[in-house]
């Protein structure tokens, strides 16, 4: 789990962060400013500084924030000058946007704020729709506006080209002032509260945020257009409110609450993807009328509030459909404020001691949690200081009266309050405390350290109307505080400058007034924290920081997190505690070495000369029996109860072998089948909601595409059997310990990771080992993709795009105990979506409705329409998964959707499009729900950038040299990992490699040849990549195969193969050392999903459809046979394990075959193999060679893992 940060502000306005893995509050890197409020999310933090300006702190990242500006240059042909800038009067501007409607010259583009810089000058984009254009990047057409082609024809009268320029956001890891371009008259008055959230309202575009702010006049503002590429947003828009707002809180999703002066809360309704600002407010009354709501904080499904008497309240029954909730529940504890962060976790600042408290035990089923626990983490600066703090409590009791008197006097006597500064404990430095404007005014004139602006404004503040009203009411001291805000609320027309000082007064007044009203002693303690002990020096030395504000919006805590916040630890530096892949000292310790050495000496001494002695205990047969269910291989195919027995015996050589017997009844007759476990090639867990089942393949069963399927009654029982069977398989093959560096890794579509040890015969003809004989064993973890090299460096990517690095361990998952390494196994989690479809048909009466024709599919179905899938009956993929979100409409569907997520078509099943036309009679929309798996395996997360693709150089010359590793982020950025070595396979940082468009695939060959594929299907070769220049210099656009768009590329030693979006596999011809780009694409095969080219130029693929003797499989591992230096495309396919396989990497296997054998067989193959192939696939056209044969009519249910 990546570390995340809890943000907090102490009473001096200093901003601190506390890492979920840390034990110390760390001072924010940018310490220039003091802050009143902060609101954090994962990627940034917004705050209001003491100058009442809004600042955004965007975390630095290896990937820059870039924005592409574009403009078009348009030209028309005339007989005199050819193409020239002179356009017809009716034409568009010479420089325009893509539509031609807007005039945009190159110099009209300016940077939006000082926080941006240009990356380079303007240049012409020479890529059109994935195809390189001829020089100059011109595209031609008959006239504007029209479709443009890259070729100039006789009738091409106009042409245009696209200029692009990137700007880059540079103000990262510092507080960047949010400048406003708004009309000065419309400018918001100074802000008093801010809240950031809303990133889950929509999945895309990534990085969209809702930033809400409250100004001193009580108005609510919404910041427009904040997204990943525009972290500052563009302008503030005013959102009308029913009263004057004081404070606001925005959840990650559509929950937004604010508090009003009058003590009620207002709830925003109608916030959704199309309308992130929402539509209207509704009012929620406070728990009791005498104590209004002071502060509110919201999460996804929770609302917490603090009332004026400092009591904490939890709102019951809050969700998207009912953002108001139903009723208040009083919680234990008295808090200054509470803040709801990620996962609906809650933090608060306690009234008594101003410590930050964490609410323990908050889970989706128990959102209110169990108890408050104080965070006692020290500050970095504290670690050396030991001075004991003066007893806060006694100090508070002693001074509480003075304080009250003094602050009350601010209410009564308005201007001359400095005379009240009698208490010797009140230090002039008090004024530095950000939110204590009132007190500041008492001493403001004597202090030089106070910001001049504040003091002067305070001094200038007439404070006439408000104090007068307050003193009118002050014969009843209790009412004063409550009425005071009301009075200010009436003064909405006051100038902004005056207003904001008022607000500070209110802030300061509220507390003492409260202490005067409801309870005298205890709550005055809270004000004590702010007033009485104000000596900064003193606090600097204090072990116990006093906090003013906390924000957990970027802090991810879940039930598995182990936090070190609650105990004070000394000595260890935070950095020491971070997980590290380097070998721990214990493993290298001398004592350990000596034990290993002595044990082997002992064995030698005591056993070597006596092996002929008889063993005291005869090795007997050990049998495990049990009852399972078996998917009958004969008709009728159904689950049948069977008795199973695993007989384990040990041969004289000490090697164990086992036989699995399955006893069943067939027509009243007892029968059995048996499997020798040394023939089993793989055991695959097949989890679905109905059965705890697993499949068992042998080479024969792989050929049939018909495994033995067994099911157990419980998950535990299945795991017991699987663990035992897989241990027996490994034992009989004498495989133990971690996979070798040569290992072939693969991933199923369920995310299970399998690894196979390649034998030398795998790539060495003539006695090529068929790949259905490969033995696969499972490694714990859940991944979508895995890549390795022959030095043992392995990386994976999860379904949630998290990057993981292999730790060198083995086991994990259900493989526990002895078959699993003790070290190097860590918790891993992954998140994916389950999709269901809502289908509707149009009828003349009611329009689109959920009443279909009798022949229609289910109105709630899976993608095929064959299976009914309602929101209620759809379960997570297996019991290992649990829901982590509610159902939401998915707008990220190919073909596009309308504003409500609908896709239209003439009829089911058809191709859907995102807008309604006259001919559309049906529509559907996709609902998604996120689910999460928690498992473990030999993987460590590589935060923070999430990835889409990854590649590692197959080998490198020396061990000291950093290993080249490239990746594509899930946003499409191309990245190059620095510092990857054998000692540190995770590397140190990413180097961003600029591209003009998002990428999807990258691969690096043995000689640093880097090929990559962009999202639009265009292919690029990266020039000049070398160990000295790891990122190379520039991209060369490679034309795609005719009419095809590529989607994945893999580069071996010299071979380059690519897969297009239609499943064709292409080989790049004509690559030479002097011309590494090659000349053209040569077709190899169809029905290919993914390709992996290894360091021997061996070609392995995941094939889409493979015909077995009994069943068809999708997602099958296939090996290209007959690949020779002179025949790099190979000859035919050898079919391995499948279906249900998603990814394979053979880039670790560099076990070279003997040269002689190679030569000899190349002839043999070229003579024999094509003959066989033509026989099988004759008459299929010129692509028949090595084509994957498909027969659609076959039954698919024999497959263990269906796609």
């Amino acid at each position: 789990m990546a570390n995340s940060l809890l943000w907090a502000v102490d009473i001096f306005g200093r901003v601190y962060t506390l890492s979920t893995a840390g034990q110390y509050w760390e001072l924010c890197k940018d310490r220039q400013l003091e802050f009143k409020r902060v609101s954090a999310v994962k990627q940034c933090c917004w705050g209001i500084a003491c100058d009442h300006q809004v600042y955004a702190y965007v975390f630095s990242s290896d990937v820059p924030i870039r924005y592409q500006e574009e403009t078009y240059e348009n030209q028309r042909w005339n007989p005199v000058g050819g193409f020239c800038e002179k356009l017809m009067p009716s034409d568009r501007w010479q420089w325009s946007d893509v539509s031609g409607l807007k005039h945009q010259q190159l110099d009209s583009f300016t940077l939006p704020s000082p926080h941006w810089e240009w990356e380079s000058d303007w240049y012409v984009d020479e890529n059109i729709g994935g195809e390189p254009t001829e020089k100059g990047g011109w595209t031609y057409a008959i006239d504007f506006p029209a479709t443009y082609a890259k070729d100039k024809k006789w009738n091409s009268c106009v042409r245009r080209r696209r200029w692009i320029r990137y700007r880059r956001y540079k103000s990262r890891d510092i507080w960047a002032k949010i400048t406003s371009h708004d009309d000065p008259k419309q400018l918001p008055d100074p802000f008093s509260d801010i809240s950031v959230g809303g990133w889950e309202i929509t999945d895309e575009p990534v990085g969209r945020l809702s930033v809400w702010a409250v100004s001193l006049q009580g108005r609510v503002w919404y910041r427009e257009d904040i997204c990943h590429q525009n972290p500052e947003g563009s302008l503030w828009s005013l959102i009308a409110t029913p009263g004057e707002a004081v404070q606001i809180s925005c959840g990650p999703y559509d929950l937004l609450w604010a508090t009003l002066w009058e003590g009620q809360a207002i709830v925003r309704e109608g916030i959704d993807r199309n309308n992130p600002q929402g539509l209207s407010w509704t009012i929620v009354e406070p728990p009791s009328s005498e104590n209004g709501i002071l502060h509110v904080s919201v999460g996804v499904n929770v609302v917490w509030a603090v009332t004026k008497d400092r009591k904490v309240w939890f709102r019951r029954g809050v969700n998207s459909h009912n953002p108001r909730g139903t009723s208040w529940i009083e919680m234990v504890g008295e808090m200054m404020m509470v803040n709801v962060g990620l996962n609906d976790q809650v933090w608060g600042i306690c009234c008594d001691n101003r410590a930050v408290y964490f609410r323990q035990g908050v889970t989706p089923s128990e959102l209110s949690g169990k108890m408050w626990k104080a965070i006692v983490a020290g500050r970095e600066s504290d670690s050396s200081q030991t001075s004991s703090s003066t007893s806060l409590l006694s100090a508070g009791c002693f001074f509480s009266d003075d304080i009250r008197e003094q602050t009350n006097s601010i209410i009564h006597g308005d201007a001359d309050v400095s005379s009240d500064t009698e208490s010797p404990q009140l230090d002039p430095h008090l004024a530095e405390m950000p939110r204590l404007g009132a007190v500041a005014s008492t001493s403001g004139n004597d202090t030089g350290s106070q910001p001049a602006e504040v003091s002067t404004k305070l001094a200038a503040d007439p404070l006439d109307s408000a104090p007068r009203e307050a003193s009118c009411a002050s014969d009843d001291g209790e009412k004063a505080g409550l009425e005071k805000p009301t009075s200010t609320a009436d003064q909405g027309s006051q100038p902004a400058e005056l207003q904001w000082t008022n607000i500070d007064l209110k802030e300061a007044l509220k507390k003492p007034l409260l202490s005067a009203s409801t309870f005298t002693e205890t709550s005055s303690l809270s004000s004590l924290g702010m007033f009485s002990v104000g000596d900064e020096e003193h606090y600097g030395a204090d072990e116990h920081p006093l906090w003013a504000w906390v924000s957990g919006g970027g802090c991810l805590v879940n039930s598995h997190s182990t936090l070190k916040w609650f105990t004070l630890q000394s000595g260890l530096l935070p950095s020491v505690q971070s997980l590290s892949l380097s070998i721990s000292p214990a493993q290298t310790a001398a004592w350990r070495k000596q034990i290993f050495q002595q044990l082997s000496e002992r064995t030698k001494r005591e056993l070597e000369n006596f092996r002929h002695y008889e063993q005291a205990i005869e090795q007997s047969v050990w049998v495990k029996t049990g009852t399972l269910q078996w998917w009958r291989s004969g008709k009728p195919h159904k689950w049948t109860d069977v008795r199973v027995a695993l007989e384990q015996f040990t041969g004289n050589d000490g090697i164990r072998d086992s036989i699995l017997f399955i006893y069943y009844m067939d027509h009243e007759e007892k029968k059995y089948i048996h499997v020798f476990l040394n023939e089993v090639t793989i055991l695959v867990e097949v989890l679905n909601d109905a059965k705890h089942s697993f499949a068992l393949y042998t080479p024969e069963r792989t050929k049939q595409r018909w495994p033995i399927r067994l099911a157990a009654a419980t998950e535990q029982e299945m795991h017991d059997w699987l663990a035992l069977l897989s241990m027996s398989c490994c034992e009989s093959r004498q495989i133990q310990g971690p996979p070798s560096h040569q290992a072939i890794w693969s991933v199923t579509c369920k995310g299970d990771v399998f690894v196979s040890e390649p034998s030398p015969e795998l790539e060495a003809a003539p006695h090529l080992m068929p790949c259905d004989q490969m033995f696969w064993r499972q490694i714990g973890g859940h991944l979508r993709l895995i890549e390795c090299n022959c030095r043992g460096i392995v990386w994976g990517i999860g379904y949630d795009h998290t990057a993981w690095v292999y730790t060198g361990g083995y086991g994990g998952g259900f493989i526990q105990g002895l078959a699993s390494s003790a070290d190097n196994i860590y918790m891993q989690s992954d998140v994916k979506c389950v999709y269901i479809y809502e289908n509707q048909r149009w009828n003349p009466v009611t329009g689109y409705s959920s009443r279909g024709l009798p022949t229609d599919r289910y109105m709630w179905s899976d993608v095929s329409g064959l299976q009914e899938c309602t929101k209620v009956n759809t379960k997570p993929p297996s019991p290992q998964w649990s829901w982590v979100s509610d159902w939401y409409i998915d707008f990220n569907v190919s073909g596009g959707t309308d504003r409500e997520g609908w896709q239209y078509a003439a009829d089911f099943p058809a191709s859907y499009h995102g807008h309604k036309t006259m001919k559309d009679f049906v529509r559907r929309r996709r609902w998604a729900r996120k689910c999460k798996i928690i498992t473990n395996g030999p993987w460590l997360e590589v935060p923070p950038i999430t990835l889409w693709d990854i590649t590692i150089i197959p080998s490198s010359a020396t061990s000291e040299e950093p290993i080249a590793l490239w990746a594509v982020s899930d946003k499409g950025d191309v990245l190059c990992r620095l510092g990857v070595t054998l000692q540190d396979p995770a590397g140190t940082s990413w180097l961003h490699v600029g591209t003009d468009q998002p990428f999807v695939s990258v691969s690096i060959g043995a000689c640093h040849q880097v090929w990559a594929v962009a999202r639009d299907g265009s292919t690029f070769y990266r020039g000049s990549v070398s160990p000295k220049k790891p990122a190379g210099d520039c991209w060369y656009h490679i034309p795609s195969p005719p009419k095809q768009k590529l989607k994945q590329v893999s580069v071996g030693r010299t071979s380059v193969l690519a897969v297009d979006k239609n499943g064709n596999l292409w080989y790049r011809q004509g690559i030479t050392p002097s011309y590494p780009q090659g000349s053209n694409w040569d077709h190899v095969s169809n029905n290919i999903r993914k390709v992996s080219v290894g360091p021997l130029d061996q070609v392995w693929v995941i094939a889409d459809k493979v015909q077995g003797s009994r069943s068809l499989s999708c997602g099958t591992v296939c090996h290209r046979t007959g690949v020779q230096p002179l025949e790099p495309k190979g000859l035919s396919w050898d079919y391995g394990i499948g279906g249900g396989w998603e990814h394979i990497t053979v880039r670790g296997n560099a076990t070279e075959s003997p040269k002689a054998a190679l030569h000899e067989t190349s002839e043999e193959y070229s003579a024999k193999a094509p003959a066989v192939e033509t026989e099988e696939h004759g008459g299929k056209g010129d692509h028949s060679k090595g084509m994957l044969l498909v027969n659609e009519g076959q039954e698919l249910d024999g497959n263990a893992v269906s796609c």
Partner: protein, 275 residues
Amino acid sequence: MTDDKDVLRDVWFGRIPTCFTLYQDEITEREAEPYYLLLPRISYLTLVTDKVKKHFQKVMRQDDFTEIWFEYEGTPLKWHYPIGLLFDLHASNTALPWNITVHFKNFPEKDLLHCPSKDVIEAHFMACVKEADALKHKSQVINEMQKKDHKQLWMGLQNDKFDQFWAINRKLMECPPEDSGFRYIPFRLYQVTTERPFIQKLFRPVAADGQLNTLGDLLKEVCPAAVTPEDGEKKNQVMIHGIEPMLETPVQWLSEHMSYPDNFLHISIIPQPTD
């Protein structure tokens, strides 16, 4: 590739080549040939000597064939000590095979316990396992186990099934992640030179200052005499499973990896051989 798991295997598959000779005074019908056997270090004499019994039964009169007991160089061998411990304690640094004398007559009542059946060994073994878990986990782990798990531990030992045994024993060797070790380390310290059969005390794997206690720390606290002084000559060998771990070895690691199947660390302290 060395892994801590390999230590478990090495410990389990430790074998001592042994030559069983019938005591000269035993009355036989024919001459009794010596019998050679590889004894598992981690097992018990009476559990693995069925073959020895059968061998000598053939040459003896039925009447004289009573309860078997073993002796090495005049010392009766306690069957309730693991074989490896007996060997380390009495016969280490001697030539192999280990010469054990087989007796039927004159059972040394004051030195040995009777072992009428394998149930007695099982009872003794399980009692040790339970005692060890009481020290390690306040008996929480062993009490949570089912009867069949207890049986599997015993059957694993009896049939020399490493996997069968460790599938269960692994749970006994776990400690909660928030603790850095067991509550107390189950160990017994044996010396031939003293009358006392063994020393057993409460000893924590982690010192008060958070440092891991080592084998050396344990000896210093429990049996200071066995520790070689800084500058002094080494007088004793500290032996577990026939090897001398360094005194820097953490006892928690030793307990997890080098305990006998009864979950105790049996440590022998024997005089340093003079040659």
